[in-house]
């Protein structure tokens, strides 16, 4: 199709579904639902976003395929299972993001650089093997559609790891020590919705930009590594 329909921001939410999240399954579920409902209630933002919700543990499961929330009639469901395999996440995104973007372009859309919101409650259980696919994913020379990655750690996730996962130091956050994890998850999704709404509003303006709000109860991870 020759006609350009508009410019979209593909946004991927990576939710940790590993076994250690079991006590917070409901918080996670509620967070995902509030995100989806929040965007559905903002049609001028929803129209500019392509939202995907992916659950990860041993592998990556699609909970919501890249979607305009205005057209969705059901909500994604989270499923707690398995370990915390970061390798699976970045390997999956390495294939998924370029393919999604190619598809969107084929449909006549222009596409902003995608953004990944990564929420994990633990250290990777695959050692350092995730660094290879991660390196390829964020290398704009090898992956022209390399995403910006915002990383939020809760529970056992270490600040140092979040800084490694985030594509900019100011995109890495960890929950403050002693924060209730359920509350932190709620805040993550609250900030995520606000970030997407603000980014969505900024799209198509004179200065499109990615707006990242720090979740309440989180601090910037770089503060922690000093």
């Amino acid at each position: 199709m020759a006609e350009t329909k508009g410019v979209l921001l593909p946004a991927y939410v990576l939710a940790d579904e590993s076994g250690s999240m079991a006590p917070y399954e409901e918080d996670l579920s509620r967070g995902v639902i509030s995100l989806c409902e929040g965007l559905r209630a903002e049609p001028m933002v929803a129209a500019k976003l392509c939202l995907a919700v992916l659950g990860f543990s041993d592998d990556v499961e699609v909970r919501l395929a890249v979607a305009d929330m205005r057209h969705e009639t059901s909500l994604p469901k989270i499923e707690i299972r398995g370990l915390t395999n970061y390798h699976a996440v970045f390997d999956d995104l390495l294939g998924r993001i370029p393919s999604d973007i190619q598809w969107l372009r084929g449909e006549g859309y222009k596409v902003h650089r995608p953004v990944v919101f990564f929420l994990s409650d633990g250290q990777p259980t695959d050692g350092g093997s995730w660094r290879e696919p991660y390196g390829r994913l964020v290398d704009r020379a090898r992956t022209p559609t390399a995403p910006n990655i915002v990383a939020c750690g809760i529970g056992d996730a270490e600040a140092r790891t979040m800084v490694e996962v985030a594509t900019r130091p100011e995109f890495a956050f960890v929950a403050k020590p002693g924060t209730d994890i359920g509350q932190a998850i709620a805040e993550f999704f609250h900030a995520l919705t606000a970030s997407l709404v603000a980014s969505g509003n900024a799209l198509n303006s004179g200065s499109p930009q990615l707006v990242v709000n720090r979740p309440d109860q989180f601090s910037m991870a770089i503060d922690e590594v000093g």
Binding site: P43, M44, A67, T73, N204
Partner: protein
């Protein structure tokens, strides 16, 4: 009704309640200890807008004060009108001797609506009815709980055009005219309400630098916040409101309303501001177009299918399902009281209950012959009961009640004689007698789908599509063919070979056959699902309720429409795979010699690549029906 002359309010005297919103310029809170316009019963609730710190240095305090003073300089009528149609700044709020924000009236309750969430069971959330909700496909609009007809849209625009005309007359240019800053209502009649008024330009003065909403900008270089600029943006709004699209600019979207409006939009979008028509011209043309626009609201909660296929592929019928059987064609010869009730019910969701319908005898298709019609005398005298006072809008209740008084019914009280195709009735009779009460075309009602004059032959409806009942009225010498509007959707009338879709627990409608919806294999009366078992490809059933106590419920035996033949392929079946990536297809050629793959396994799970080990695989699901997902493994021949 004008508010008192402007006086600065000290921030410290305000008791703030909930945060109501946040935008680029500031944050809005409810104020719990103040009212404005006490002349309205009880006064109006108040909101406080606090400018964000980066905005304050740019604030022109004099211009803001001039806005607050404006109503006092207008005639009483103009002042009252301004405060009724806009959240005009009512007072400047000061902190430490400097302006920090303003007070304004809270959004009136009639410009709010109950947002329908996907979870359905959550607490009802009232949201401001921003016009942005209407610039989207009908399925979305209905899905969030709004019901707005084409005529409502025309009248909304007409009201906005009138509002702009009057504002311009007062020396006010809106400037950032966008769906975000406009609220709407459809009851008691379509109308609009403007917010963010401190951003407007009054007699050339502007409290804050003029900003524009993305996609709602004037042509490059044009002066912002002028009357001609407002007309340009009004035309964009008109186009987009009818295109159901947030960025459309082609006036052709208005052509269904007649060439004059499309021409008006074209002229209004002219790059030269001097060439643009006035809002008054728009108001005139829109008002003229309204009577011929359909008054049928889009059916609420018509589910479109959800996302299917590989991630990224849009769901099957992303297009809105048919607008449902609600139908109130223009020129409908219904008593005025009924027409009025329909308009109200659309938004308020309350149905006028009139007790006794006329008694007419009828027959369900090919059952008892109809013998008489004896409309009761008083049916149309049943008054419409206005809804109970809305606690959110005490100040509106009195005027609403006044305006909601139904007009006197027309002289003809015979609903059968007045019926047209598209009229609806409730039947409160028994199997053999009919007791019809004219009603809104809502679930549980019967809609007239055909009328045969000059006959009382009940069989004359036999070939009429979707007709479930025929009713004869010897007095009027006619037969009405009626179609039941099931709460479970128009799939009630589906026949073998049709395609249907709906949520597991919701209404189901007939749709064009597409990947992700269901083909009807068979239709049975009753609820014995074992009847479906022997149909090839049967994998789902749906019961659709018929009229109460009529034993006419329907059971549909269904088959999911998978993307291609591999969806129903069995172990060791040969298929021809063609294409690659997203465009891969699998065809059952009926012969292994013309095929290139053999099915080596299948599992009813989505994305189960590991299940296929080293074999090739393909997977698909409709997330709304995860039980019908598959991953099929295959090997090359």
């Amino acid at each position: 009704m004008s508010p008192a002359p402007a006086a600065a309010v000290e921030y410290s005297t305000l008791v703030l309640g909930n945060q109501l919103g946040q935008g680029g310029q500031g944050t809005v809170y409810q104020v719990t200890n103040k009212k404005i316009n006490k002349t309205a019963s009880g006064g109006w609730d108040v909101a406080y807008k606090e400018y964000s710190p980066p905005v304050l240095p740019e604030l022109d305090a004099g211009a803001l004060a001039a806005q607050v003073d404006l109503p006092g300089t207008l005639s009483a009528e103009d002042g009252a009108w301004l405060c009724d149609h806009t959240a005009w700044p009512a007072a400047v709020v000061r902190r430490n001797g400097r302006p920090c924000g303003l007070l304004m009236r809270l959004i009136p309750a009639r410009f709010q609506f109950t947002f329908k969430s996907l979870t359905g069971t959550g607490t009802a959330v009232r949201k401001p009815a921003n016009l942005e909700y209407l610039l989207n496909p009908d399925a979305y609009v209905a899905g969030i709980g709004l019901s707005v007809s084409e005529r409502d849209r025309v009248l909304l625009l007409a009201d906005l055009a009138t509002t702009l005309d009057r504002l311009h007359g007062m020396g006010i240019a809106v400037g950032d005219l966008s769906p975000r800053n406009l609220l709407f209502t459809t009851a008691p009649e379509p109308g609009c309400f403007l917010i963010d008024c401190d951003a407007m330009r009054l007699r050339g003065g502007t409290a804050l630098p003029q900003a524009e909403t993305p996609d709602w900008q004037l042509p490059g270089g044009e002066e912002k916040a002028t009357c001609a600029g407002d007309v340009y943006k009004f035309a964009l709004l008109a186009v987009r409101l009818f295109a159901r699209d947030q960025t459309a600019t082609d006036p052709v979207a208005l052509s269904t309303l007649g060439p004059p409006l499309a021409d008006l939009a074209r002229a209004s979008l002219h790059r030269d501001p001097a060439q643009r028509p006035s809002p008054a011209t728009w108001a005139e043309q829109l008002t003229a177009a309204a009577p011929t626009a359909s008054a049928a609201p889009v059916a609420p909660a018509v589910p479109a299918a959800s996302t299917t296929g590989r991630p990224g592929r849009p769901g099957p019928p992303g297009n809105p399902a048919p607008a449902g059987p609600v139908n109130m064609p223009p020129g409908k010869v219904a008593a005025l009281v009924l027409a009025f009730v329909v308009v109200l019910v659309v938004v308020l969701g309350a149905l006028a209950e009139s007790s006794d319908g006329p008694s007419t005898t009828s027959s369900r298709s090919s059952a008892q012959p109809g013998v008489s019609a004896s409309p009761s005398d008083g049916w149309s005298d049943e008054p419409y009961e206005p809804p109970s006072d809305d606690p959110l809008a005490p100040e509106e209740t009195e005027e609403q009640k006044e305006s909601e008084e139904p007009e006197s019914p027309s002289a003809s009280p015979d609903p059968v004689a007045d019926a047209e195709v598209g009229s609806c009735f409730y039947d409160e009779g028994t199997d053999t007698t009919v007791d019809l009460r004219e009603a809104e075309c809502a679930t549980g009602a019967f809609e007239v789908v055909d009328l045969h004059h000059g006959t009382t032959d009940l069989d004359s409806c036999d070939d009429v599509e979707n007709s479930d009942r025929s009713i004869s009225s010897p007095r009027n010498d006619l037969v009405m063919c009626l179609s039941f509007l099931s709460a479970d959707g128009d799939a009630y009338h589906a026949v073998q070979g049709d395609c249907v879709y709906g949520r597991k627990a919701g209404a189901w409608d007939t749709q064009a056959c597409e990947t992700g919806n269901f083909k009807v294999l068979a239709v049975y009366n009753g609820s014995d699902t074992s009847k479906c078992d022997d149909w090839p490809r049967y994998n789902y059933w749906k019961k659709i309720d018929g009229p109460p106590d009529a034993d006419r419920d329907v059971l549909l035996c269904l088959s999911m429409n998978y993307p291609d033949d591999i969806g129903y392929a069995e172990m060791d079946q040969c298929l021809l795979q063609r294409g690659s990536g997203d465009s891969t297809t699998h065809t059952n050629t009926g012969s292994c010699s013309t095929s290139n793959i053999v099915v080596s396994g299948r599992t009813p799970h989505y994305g189960a690549a590991a299940f296929c080990r080293d074999n090739g695989w393909t997977t698909w699901q409709n997330p709304s029906f995860p039980d019908l997902a598959y991953t099929v493994c295959f090997r090359w021949k």
